[in-house]
């Protein structure tokens, strides 16, 4: 019986991590070891990365190599089944609360695209427009509009339309999906959901009854047009670790209603430009790199706003080297610089004080600009008709090819 969070997180821990709030203790860094321990998931160690490489016959994704995706639940079961010839499907999603997407938002999607390509499996993407309508007090129309806009950026990450189904809750909830929602809802008491998500008597009933919506895409029977007759199909969910509570609840319920528990593979949080302790917020455009930023914007933001671990003067820097622990350009390069050897070299030289902050920032600007440019070009090719096609309830006959 795995550990299930049943106390209000705000009460005892100083670190708060749940789907609606992420904050470290005393304005410090998130302690991921503590988090893994508290949530009860497992560390993804090197043996997993090697195994993935073997099974997929291709180099593992940079996020795996660098420990960006660092925790999991039952990923080994997925791999065991895969080795036996049993496929699985992927499930990820986005809460469309704003039009402006930044690089942090793209991370789970970049990784999911890699998983789709490497394992050749289908993918469902949930746009929780209803959740944002409720939590952010958006109008129904606005949240639906944002969902479609975000869908375009998601599609631009390069998903294969013949293996991908994107849906918005307002459009899709009903039928078999809703039946599963009720099955899940019957298994979770009010007290339990308050314990997991921290709801209070002041929260409206929409919020309280939302969790099943995010739970049931983990079950293949929620998508009869895709997985009819494949009730045994397993599900792997790539997400950021703050989504863990939803799926802890789901995993608890699954065996009780006769389904496989979904497996999870979880990522770190993407730090704000101003540093780990800063918050990336939609109202501060300088806290993140947006996919709509021009090369000039990126250069400006990195040069002026990225928090560095470099010393105050060149002499001091040459003597002591940079503090890699807090240096944002190094952290960002860790996420996005493909070449392992080059990253090692930069870390070594910068840490020793031979390389200056300006050079590291320059390299980062190049890397980020290339990514944003590539995304923009792909985004320009996404039409409303393409969004309609991705979101149409249609069979995907080649989804395992």
């Amino acid at each position: 019986m795995e550990k299930v969070e049943d106390q209000n997180p705000q009460q005892e821990e100083d670190q708060v991590v749940n789907p609606w709030e992420v904050s470290a203790k005393d304005g410090g860094k998130i302690d991921y070891d503590k988090l893994i321990d508290k949530f009860g998931c497992q560390r993804l160690d090197q043996s997993f990365v090697d195994r993935v490489q073997r099974l997929t016959s291709r180099p593992p994704h940079v996020f795996l190599r660098r420990g960006v995706f660092f925790a999991h639940r039952d990923f080994n079961d997925i791999l065991d089944a895969y080795e036996r010839g049993q496929k699985f499907y992927l499930y990820t999603g986005r809460g469309p609360s704003s039009e402006a997407l930044h690089l942090g938002h793209l991370i789970p999607f970049m990784f999911t695209k890699y998983l789709q390509d490497a394992f050749k499996v289908p993918l469902v993407i949930q746009l929780t427009d209803d959740e944002k309508c409720m939590w952010k007090n958006l109008s129904v129309e606005e949240s639906q509009r944002l969902a479609r806009e975000n869908a375009k950026d998601i599609i631009a990450c390069g998903f294969d339309i013949s293996k991908t189904f994107i849906f918005s809750d307002f459009d899709y909830v009903g039928g078999a999906f809703y039946k599963n929602m009720v099955k899940v809802a019957k298994c979770v008491t009010y007290n339990k959901v308050v314990g997991i998500f921290g709801f209070t008597g002041e929260d409206h009933i929409g919020k309280v009854s939302f969790p099943p919506v995010q739970a049931v895409p983990s079950f293949p029977s929620s998508f009869p047009h895709l997985f009819s007759g494949k009730d045994d199909l397993r599900c792997l969910i790539p997400c950021a670790i703050d989504q863990d509570p939803y799926f802890r609840m789901t995993r608890d319920v699954a065996p009780r209603i006769g389904y496989h528990k979904p497996a999870l593979i979880e990522s770190l949080f993407f730090p704000a430009l101003q540093g780990e302790t800063g918050k990336m917020s939609a109202s501060d455009p300088n806290s993140a790199i947006y996919v709509t930023d021009s090369a000039k914007d990126i250069k400006y933001k990195v040069n002026k706003h990225a928090f560095t671990g470099g010393q105050e003067t060149i002499e001091k820097h040459r003597q002591y080297g940079a503090n890699l622990e807090v240096d944002i350009p190094i952290k960002y390069l860790n996420f996005f610089l493909e070449d392992d050897a080059e990253l090692e070299h930069i870390k070594k030289e910068y840490g020793a004080g031979c390389m200056l902050t300006g050079e590291v920032k320059k390299r980062l600007i190049e890397v980020l600009t290339e990514i944003v440019e590539r995304h923009r070009r792909a985004r320009a090719a996404v039409t409303d008709e393409m969004v309609d096609a991705f979101m149409a309830v249609r069979p995907l006959p080649n989804m395992f090819d």
Partner: protein, 320 residues
């Protein structure tokens, strides 16, 4: 090719919209217009052509007396405090296809303006008749707001009337009330400089010569601008992005490969690898281009699938 004044008037008659027309010398301001049509029994309108930082455009059409505060409007649209400004002159002709001083809701009849959002003063509804330019400054037409609505609906627009003088609070729990009026796609215009010509040419005042070169430099590009301004066409016109053209796709692939190939072969690399240079370059090309080309191929695949999907959902079954 922009809609002409005569075409517009013919269209209004076709739609049986009741209007009166008044010819007068060319006017560039509401004050000048008032001299000629100030007492024909209609309310004068002032029309602003605005843009935001993401190259999205808006026509704000209001009664001449209504106070329009750009800062407030910007916030209500969700663009922040200084997000709206007057659109530059060059863009007026390219998008609305009307001359200076002639911004009018009727300009939205043009395909190039399909992305432009229209904000109408609810004050129009209380007037018997309102006066607008019919795509040219040497004439004014007066019509009832119902007539305007009928026209707008005929070009696939849903007329939205708002209280332009309202100033509702916008904050964390009060989302901008006009956010749904922000256009879905941004209008992609070729490399228009954000700065005015005077700033570019080291402090010279924008002379007529300066402006004309600026305009002609862009004159050869409007077709691509119009093509890019497609995303959500008013009447659901099919996308015309060349991404499924096999020829263009192959050219793109070959371009990238040969650029990389040429950069890999140099005196230096020949010396270094000698006979093995071929294998070395082939390897590098694979390594560098693999992901990029796969992404390109996925875009082509998705676009082709979408075209097929569209065709499939719009096909007419055989009549038996």
């Amino acid at each position: 090719m922009g809609y002409s004044k005569d075409q517009l008037l013919a269209r209004l008659k076709e739609l049986q919209i009741d209007f009166s027309q008044y010819e007068h010398p060319v006017v560039l301001t509401v004050e000048a217009q008032a001299k000629y049509v100030g007492n024909v029994g209609g309310a004068l309108s002032k029309n602003l052509f605005l843009k935001d930082k993401k190259h999205r455009y808006y026509v704000v059409s209001a009664l001449a007396d209504t106070k329009v505060d750009m800062k407030v409007l910007s916030q209500r649209l969700g663009l922040g405090k200084g997000g709206l400004r007057m659109a530059p002159e060059e863009v007026l002709g390219e998008i609305l296809k009307v001359p200076l001083g002639c911004v009018t809701p009727f300009a939205l009849v043009n395909e190039s303006a399909s992305h432009v959002s229209l904000l109408l003063d609810k004050g129009f509804k209380t007037q018997e008749r309102c006066i607008f330019h019919p795509l040219s400054n040497d004439m004014s037409i007066s019509l009832n707001a119902f007539g305007l609505d009928k026209f707008l609906k005929s070009i696939g627009r849903d007329p939205t009337y708002i209280d332009l003088e309202a100033n509702p609070p916008v904050g964390k729990d009060q989302p901008p009330d006009l956010a749904s009026l922000v256009p879905l796609g941004s209008t992609v215009l070729p490399d228009l400089p954000e700065k005015t010509p005077s700033q570019d040419s080291s402090g010279n005042h924008p002379s007529a010569g300066n402006n004309s070169t600026a305009v002609t430099a862009k004159a050869d590009k409007p077709s691509s601008a119009v093509q890019n301004v497609k995303e959500k066409s008013v009447n659901g016109v099919r996308p015309s992005i060349p991404s499924t053209d096999a020829g263009k796709f192959v050219e793109e692939l070959l371009d990238r490969t040969s650029t990389l190939l040429l950069s890999e072969i140099s005196e230096d690399s020949i010396k270094r690898h000698g006979g093995q240079l071929g294998a070395e370059v082939a390897n590098n090309i694979r390594k560098c281009l693999r992901e990029d080309l796969k992404n390109l191929a996925t875009i082509v695949k998705n676009t082709a699938y979408t075209e097929g999907f569209y065709a499939g959902t719009h096909y007419q079954p055989k009549r038996l």
